[in-house]
Amino acid sequence: MDVYLPIANLAVNGLVIVALGALTGLLSGVFGVGGGFLTTPLLIFYGIPPTVAAASAASQVTGASVSGVFAHSRRGGVDYQMGGVLVLGGVIGTGIGALLFRLLSALGQIDTVISVLYVVLLGSIGSFMARDAVREIRAHARGLTLAASKRRHHPLVASLPLRWRFYRSGLYISPLAPLLLGVVTGIATMLMGIGGGFMLVPAMLYILGMSAGVVVGTSLFQIMFVTMATTMMHALTTRAVDMVLAVLLLLGSVTGAQVGARLALSVRPERLRLALAAIVLVVAFRMALGLTYRPDAVYTVTAL
């Protein structure tokens, strides 16, 4: 089924794009990550211009997270207060990201920076998650439950001034910590065309120490708003949001997200985290190969 994309200026197979959306939607439902870290590279691999891919993936992530947020909020799995602080930081981060994007594009280094960011971020977070999940699975096999010490937040967080009570997260910490976290993911969203969920979820668990029940829902809540801001930012600056592409991706991803949310309930969480870690590491590895092997396209062309 051929579909012409009016902004990307080329014809694609609509079914492939819908399937791609479904795959990333599934991830988003299961893990509470937006799936953008997969969508954007795959779209580029398929031949969509990078800017259009990043811009349209952002609106796809919005759609996938909306249905995820609904699913989780029905179960009381969203901390709106914490989410609000994260969103504020995220929107600030998007603005900073847009400036960086322009600067790096002018220098011609945006591709390299994006790839290096992918390798470093995905590689470190992926191995961290994998180590942790393996440890839990081992403990589980021995019939032990790990001490609840991981609920403690990072000592740096405790040293920040000003403290709020986040009831649903079960925390009494400075709002500056989630605000900064929001800024970092906002920058990543704009630069890498990702929702930032794969960074948010572990950071919420291990740095903020939020209770596991609200982590996925709250991360989706933040992702939803930050990707909305990103879509607007792209529509206004790069003009690269392709609505037809976004709708195709959405068709797949919103259904995928719903299926994923159900799947997540029936699988043990540490197994889920191990699976996510594996996917994240594979993407990081692929990106690292792309940087070190002689690329297929030594030359690239951009319009002035």
């Binding site: 012409y4 909305m228 879509t231 030359y299």
Partner: protein, 250 residues
């Protein structure tokens, strides 16, 4: 009328040996609509001698279809500290967004490099107008890089046997436009070449335009960016929400 005038001029000036080309294109307007996956243009025409009879001689025919030009940056990756990064770049003011050349024989057998450069016949001879000073070796390298990238997407094509001439009078060439062509004004130039000399040339035009929904979306995104962004966001929320509702009862 113009053609008739030119014909009369030729007759009276006595340039009786040089032929006249009457070019035609199968489609003067290419409409980019939903489901557009590219199209094939048939460029054809007749080679006549000034009296209006068939030329009766073997000419080499070269057909060049060129899209609107654009200013571009070509970047070259080099390996530094173990990773491939964009290390060098060159800017060109007039790179065609589409360039296809078809000929009845390989170009290097028909014309020499000088003639090729004058008439922009062949990928190495496209006038790119570099911005700033650039040494010739470097320009050749980047031009070749550009041609490589564009050929990959079928946006630059070279077909050394793409033109067929029948009965010394009718020629035709097929050129495929991929779906990723830019919209704008395209020119189809035909050259008749004899003994390495261009003896006649003629131009036909093709307009590539977005139509219907595709045009609407492209204009909307360009002229009302804020509203377009809002619609995109609203659309994604609505779709996510509807899916959430539907699945809530499943």
């Amino acid at each position: 009328m113009k053609r008739l005038f030119a014909l009369l001029c030729l007759v009276f000036l006595g340039a009786a040996r040089d032929p006249i080309l009457v070019p035609e294109v199968s489609q003067h307007k290419v409409e980019v609509r939903q489901g557009f996956t590219g199209t094939e243009l048939l460029l054809f025409g007749a080679i006549l001698d000034p009296q209006g009879t068939r030329a009766g001689r073997d000419y080499d025919i070269v057909v060049v279809l060129k899209g609107p030009t654009q200013s571009i940056t070509v970047r070259e990756k080099q390996k530094h500290a173990g990773i491939w990064i964009n290390a060098a770049s060159a800017q060109f003011r007039s790179a065609p967004s589409f360039y296809a050349v078809a000929s009845s024989r390989p170009l290097n057998q028909i014309v020499d490099a000088r003639t090729s450069a004058i008439y922009e016949l062949g990928l190495p001879f496209i006038q790119l107008s570099p911005i700033g000073t650039i040494d010739p070796d470097r320009q050749v390298r980047f031009a070749a890089g550009l041609a490589g990238v564009m050929s990959e997407g079928s946006l630059y094509q070279e077909d050394p046997h793409g033109v067929t001439v029948s009965e010394q009078v009718l020629y035709q060439a097929r050129i495929a436009l991929p779906s990723s062509v830019q919209t704008g004004s395209y020119t189809a130039e035909t050259f008749a070449i004899s003994k390495g000399r261009v003896v006649a040339s003629a131009v036909a035009r093709v307009e590539v335009q977005k139509q219907g929904f595709e045009r609407f979306v492209a204009d909307f995104a360009r002229h009302q960016a804020f509203l377009y962004g809002l619609v995109a966001v609203a659309l994604s929320i609505a779709m996510g929400w509807i899916a959430g509702r539907l699945f809530a009862y499943v």
